[in-house]
């Protein structure tokens, strides 16, 4: 049977585990003797602090609702862009087919199809809003998301006009009688595809930022609400012992190990 190899993270954690165990036996001794020290904050103070923190949690919940709306708005814009990309691709296919024939009647029919697709593009851009905010219609809205109660941190997502005017897709010219007319349309469509792609990734980046803050705010509210109740009954004599016990438990916890692994990947590994 092969030897068990301990990773660097686990070895370090084992070492501090031994140290903590020593500290902890001292604590248990002390608690057993019943010698208590005065607590830094007496309970009435803790009560008011706790109430204040609870009301912060409800302020944060309101921010969270606004962030949720912002996420939906961006998702609506993103769905819209996906649809627009398909419509532009279809328009490209129509234009290429038109080039394959020289029959003026057939070309005129393709040109009409192309113009119908333009109308669909405009309609889709118009319908890609959420809760009255549309980031991609002609003269689009902007979206401002506030991240903290003081409104000192916020993100503004600038809308972009992605209707045919904004994308620069002109109506078909001369019933596409000449090749040059069709080529002009194809050039416009290429540029439009590029613009859609760029805008999708800009919105995607904004969405990631907002979702990150949203999750963080959720965690914050959770710690405020669970912590606020414990605060009233806090006994600092027990807390020291609790922290030592926690330290022991944490040494080999999954959280601590993955934290160590993460640190080893970052610039911190150079500190070895």
């Amino acid at each position: 049977m092969s030897d068990i190899t301990l990773s660097r993270g686990v070895r370090q954690n084992l070492l501090s585990l031994q140290k903590t165990a020593e500290q902890q036996s001292a604590t248990q001794m002390r608690l057993a003797t019943g010698r208590k020290v005065n607590s830094a904050l007496d309970n009435p103070t803790n009560f008011f602090v706790s109430e204040g923190l609870k009301s912060r949690a409800s302020d944060l919940s309101r921010l969270l609702d606004a962030m949720g709306l912002a996420v939906k708005t961006l998702e609506a814009a993103d769905t819209g862009i996906t649809g627009l990309k398909k419509l532009v691709e279809t328009a490209q296919a129509v234009a290429r087919q038109a080039k394959l024939t020289s029959d003026p009647t057939a070309r005129a029919a393709y040109a009409a199809q192309f113009d119908a697709l333009r109308t669909q593009i405009d309609d889709l851009a118009k319908d890609s809003g959420y809760n009255g905010v549309n980031l991609i219609k002609g003269s689009p809205n902007n979206l401002t998301v506030v991240f903290n109660e003081q409104s000192t941190t916020q993100l503004t997502v600038n809308g972009a006009a992605l209707d045919t005017a904004g994308l620069g897709i002109a109506a078909s010219a001369n019933n596409w009688a000449a090749d040059a007319d069709i080529d002009a349309a194809l050039t416009n469509l290429d540029a439009a595809t590029l613009k859609l792609r760029t805008q999708a990734s800009t919105f995607g980046a904004n969405l990631t930022v907002i979702k990150n803050r949203q999750e963080f705010t959720n965690g914050m509210i959770l710690s405020l609400t669970t912590g606020a109740d414990g605060l009233v009954l806090a006994d600092q004599n027990e807390e020291g012992a609790n922290l030592l016990a926690l330290n022991t438990r944490q040494q080999l916890s999954q959280t601590a190990l993955s934290l160590a692994a993460q640190a080893d990947q970052a610039v911190l590994r150079l500190f070895g």
């Binding site: 705010t217 912590g227 806090a234 020291g240 500190f271």
Partner: protein, 144 residues
């Protein structure tokens, strides 16, 4: 904004994703730009983050250095929740750290975690006893 830095011989500093080690003489230089900057005395590693509070510091430090909050679900909040369960009286300090992170000011968040670590050491000192409890500890000022 320019940051003025002075390094002792051999002292190290993280600037962005690089580690800079000073040569044999004292060095003074200025840093401009947005990169995360951490002096050697402010850096914790998995080996030196040996208490619950210091682990929280390490987690925030990682967010600061990588400019990425996304580790918060995996490390930060589990560590914070554990800490609060063990020591609920630390909630005001933790609320302050959270606000700093939410506002995107991770350097100030790190400063706030230092206060949490100091408070943690104080609580542990209370529990492990010794003369320190009666000497100079701020929390005992209203004792009879």
């Amino acid at each position: 904004m320019t940051l003025k830095v002075e390094l002792k011989p051999g002292e190290r500093i993280i600037v962005g994703t690089a580690l800079i080690r000073n040569g044999e003489s004292r060095t003074r230089f200025h840093i401009e730009g947005e990169a995360p900057i951490l002096r050697e005395k402010d850096i914790l590693t998995p080996a030196t983050a040996d208490s619950p509070g210091k682990k929280i510091y390490l987690a925030v430090q990682l967010m600061y250095l990588t400019g990425d909050l996304s580790g918060h679900n995996e490390f930060y909040f589990p560590l914070v929740q554990d800490f609060l369960k063990a020591a609920p009286s630390a909630l005001p300090l933790i609320a302050e750290i959270n606000s700093r992170i939410l506002a995107g000011d991770l350097y100030k968040a790190l400063k706030a975690v230092k206060q949490l670590i100091a408070y943690e050491q104080e609580l542990i000192a209370h529990a492990t006893g010794g003369e320190r409890v009666y000497q100079g500890s701020a929390s005992d000022t209203h004792a009879p």
